[in-house]
């Protein structure tokens, strides 16, 4: 039980901290939670209940084989050159139903569900996005980091905007 409780606590802290940095728009610290070689994957839906599974032959909404893709997005958000990113919405992410699997000293898999509430200023409208996460965590010199993040967006009928801050 102690091992489970410990794993759960450590996993939760990573996931909550990730949400915290995104909501606070602390992008450098958010990027720092991911390993350089992390895979970040938000598949698309093939139909009502089937997601795309092969990112080399099927479309994903976001697929990055390394952290560099996320770095590009942070650059764009900060650049002031993207009308879609100006102003950014206010967001609150909640992460819940956390399950840990395959727990080892330096790795574990974390399943969870998530919501991202977004307030879009120009429209004075709130939208909520929701789905599941599957994180692979790896223990590094910097503590637990995200080596893989797999995101399922359940409500993919998108009201204009979909970026890293509302998934």
């Amino acid at each position: 039980m102690t091992d489970l409780v410990r794993a759960l606590a450590e996993a939760s802290q990573v996931l909550y901290r990730e949400a915290y940095y995104v909501d606070a728009q602390r992008w450098d610290e958010w990027l720092g939670l991911f390993t350089d070689d992390c895979e970040y994957w938000l598949p698309a839906w093939r139909g009502e209940h089937e997601l795309t599974a092969n990112p080399k032959r099927e479309i994903s909404l976001i697929y990055y084989a390394t952290r560099a893709g996320l770095e590009d997005r942070v650059w764009r958000i900060r650049s002031g050159q993207s009308i879609a990113s100006t102003p950014l919405p206010r967001t609150t992410h909640t992460v819940h139903n956390i399950l840990v699997e395959d727990v080892a000293d330096d790795s574990m898999t974390v399943l969870s569900t998530w919501t991202a509430h977004c307030f879009f200023h120009k429209l004075n409208a709130s939208e909520v996005f929701f789905g599941d996460y599957r994180h692979s965590l790896r223990k590094t010199a910097d503590g637990w980091q995200i080596a893989r993040k797999y995101i399922v967006l359940k409500n993919d009928y998108v009201p204009t905007m979909l970026d890293i801050y509302n998934i």
Binding site: A44, S60, E71, S79, Q81, S82
Partner: protein
């Protein structure tokens, strides 16, 4: 003013078409008046050919998918003999939706409400408890089948019309067919929708999307973040090496132009100095052997095509198919696909997928900047005090009838066109859409005795 009170003169005055005097102006009401929107839905979407899908979306007998013609829900199905057709997604009995899934395979549909059944040719094959139904002759002589709509196919591009009073599809597409050929012939068996569809809405008029696809002028001001990210990758300032996206910064050797066809179709095109970055380049030898050097060159080049009113094939960053569905004067639904040659290699497919995700996808680094721009325009249109736009003047001194060197090389004979220096970013390419717009509405009002 209600839609049925709008006369042709009311909409005719919204477009000033006087190119002999170097003038072409459009009124903001085109984008913001709900009465105008009603006319568009009635006469441009619901009395005209609209695009409904690719044949790869229903490849086998009894395959089907659901979609819309204007505001009316349809099913596109391949019957058990393998023949494609389309009909309204509504039971003849009490109107219930017949197909409950977005797509699938079914030998028949049984209405969940009172059990009437239909086959995949839309024929009613069963009325529950018919013999005991005490029906009388007025019911018995009715057509109980699903309501068929006119259906046509060009290559693997599927179209349907709610009205039978439309020209043959071939005539409707006209010269624009040749631009569709440059998409279809990229593969020996045509192109297919790659699994992984995305649908999004934006709070602005549908014509903003129609125009954006053929709008070169917005590129450097709306997408500098994308262009600079590509530069950063090339300079090693970004570590992202998984995709070699189109470099719009390379323009000095590019030659481009625009063309309008009858019935609202239009295209912008530009040569591509970096062919090797396209997915199709992996198969260039095979393509050249099949279609020749010139056609292959243009397949590897930039072409953004609008087939009026509701589908676009944009080929620059990757190859995208966009289907436009207007929901209201200030709200539009987009369904977008990456498309690619059937049977293309893993290498080619992976390149086009990464490029599509980088630029075109709903969640990409470019499309959101377009759609937010449309919403910003719709916001500006709230100001009824302002009447006329100034966005149709670029290129007017270079606008010409018929073809030019570039369109002749591509192999098209447009109605009007433009060829000029990079930086002209022609806006005369919008004229064809507006001329067709007037004609569809005029013809429709006339047919209804409401001119």
């Amino acid at each position: 003013m209600k839609a049925n009170e709008l006369k042709f003169n009311d909409v005719d005055r919204l477009i000033v078409d006087n190119v002999e005097q170097d003038e072409f102006w459009v009124h903001r009401d085109l984008y913001r008046d709900p009465a105008v929107f009603e006319l568009e839905m009635k006469y441009i979407f619901e009395r005209n050919w609209v695009f409904v899908g690719l044949d790869s979306q229903a490849p086998n007998p009894n395959d089907y998918f659901t979609t819309w013609i204007g505001r009316q829900p349809i099913i596109v199905a391949r019957d058990k003999q393998g023949k494609l057709g389309a009909f309204i997604n509504s039971c003849a009995h009490k109107g219930a939706r017949i197909a409950h899934h977005r797509d699938g395979n079914a030998k028949q549909w049984v209405c969940s409400y009172h059990g009437w059944a239909y086959d995949t040719a839309g024929q009613c094959i069963y009325i529950k408890d018919q013999d005991a139904g005490c029906y009388a002759e007025p019911f018995n002589k009715l057509d109980h089948n699903l309501k068929k709509v006119k259906f046509g196919q060009y290559r693997g591009f599927l179209f349907a019309s709610l009205s039978d009073d439309v020209p043959p599809l071939d005539e409707h597409l006209g010269e624009a067919k040749k631009m569709l050929d440059l998409v279809w012939d990229q593969g020996p068996d045509g192109v297919e929708a790659i699994p992984g569809v995305s649908t999004y809405t934006y709070n602005a008029n549908w014509k903003m999307q129609v125009e954006n696809c053929i709008d070169a002028y917005h590129l450097t001001s709306c997408h500098p973040s994308f262009m600079n990210i590509v530069s950063r990758r090339k300079a090693g300032e970004s570590r992202n090496t998984q995709v070699r996206s189109i470099d719009f910064n390379v323009m000095d050797v590019v030659k481009g132009g625009t063309a309008c066809f009858p019935r609202g179709h239009a295209v912008i095109y530009a040569t591509n100095p970096l062919e090797s970055e396209r997915g199709l380049f992996v198969h260039k030898d095979e393509v050249v052997a099949r279609v020749g050097e010139t056609k292959a060159k243009w397949m590897l080049a930039t072409r953004n095509l609008t087939i009026y009113p509701n589908v676009q094939f944009a080929e620059n960053a990757s190859l995208q198919m966009r289907v436009i569905r207007p929901l209201a004067v200030d709200k539009t639904e987009m369904t977008i696909y990456c498309i690619g040659a059937k049977g293309e290699s893993d290498a080619a497919r992976e390149i086009r997928i990464r490029q599509y995700e980088d630029f075109f996808n709903t969640s990409g680094l470019a499309t959101p900047d377009d759609t937010i721009a449309y919403e910003d325009c719709q916001f500006g249109f709230k100001a009824k005090k302002l009447e006329w736009l100034q966005g149709t003047a670029r290129g007017i001194t270079g606008n010409h009838r018929g073809s030019d060197d570039l369109s002749r090389e591509i192999g098209i004979e447009p109605e009007t066109g433009f060829m000029g220096p990079m930086g002209a970013w022609d806006e005369t390419v919008y004229y064809g859409g507006y001329r067709a717009w007037k004609q569809f509405i005029k013809d429709g009002l006339e047919a209804d005795g409401l001119l």
